[in-house]
Symmetry: C2
Subunit: 107 residues, 2 copies
DNA sequence: TAATTTAGCAACCAAATGGTTTCCTAAATT
DNA sequence: AATTTAGGAAACCATTTGGTTGCTAAATTA
């Protein structure tokens, strides 16, 4: 099976989990309360997130807190980077067009 | 089935397709030459990308050029935004720490 | 007009997903 | 010592994925 960030964020439940633990580390039980599914289903998502290294389990007594590995999130950002450049370039282009239009109207 | 940007970019072949057509619109056959799989397999990925509205087919004679819908890519960027804020905040925090260290060494 | 090229569509298949339920172990509580 | 609680592991299931091959239709070329 594929185990990378893109696989990790493909599922909406997993994106929601990421959103929740970004605010604060949480246990599987606490997380499960936010979803309409069994604790085990959430645990499975946590396992995938752990395998993708987007999340790190930290034992605390009999509880396990899952924390977000922010570094891994940057991989998505990095993949996006060249595309962001393209749309910024297009915006600048449009900017130039608008500029020329203004000048034309003035003159 | 789920049909959103995150599903679209989950597959490495699809990410590669996106990368290729970001440079220039391409036909399924032209795309297939870049991969070690059948033209039909690539076409299936194009269908998913089209359903996710990340790509737009444009008929030209008997050829169909697929172009990237850059706007849709921004949805990933938008989802990332709050997380980016967090890691920027952490960097600033670290910055503050380094600053205080410097001052301590000076004094 | 006949042959070729482009590309979508359908059927098929093995493997992966996303969920369930049941079971087990280890800590914490009584 | 017995019980409750937290949470992982396994078995199971339906659906989806990602690939294959074979077909057809339309446009192009000879």
């Amino acid at each position: 099976m594929r185990r990378d960030v893109f696989q990790a964020i493909a599922d909406p439940t997993r994106r929601a989990i990421i959103g929740l633990i970004a605010l604060q580390a949480m246990t599987p039980n606490a997380l499960a309360e936010h979803f309409d599914m069994s604790r085990q289903a959430v645990s499975k998502h946590l396992r995938i997130l752990t395998e993708c290294e987007l999340v790190k389990p930290e034992q605390q007594g009999r509880e396990i807190y899952y924390l977000l590995e922010m570094e891994k999130m940057k991989e998505v950002d990095q993949w996006l980077e060249p595309f962001r450049k393209i749309w910024v370039a297009r915006f600048d282009e449009l900017d130039g067009v608008l500029d020329r239009m203004k000048k034309k109207n003035k003159g």
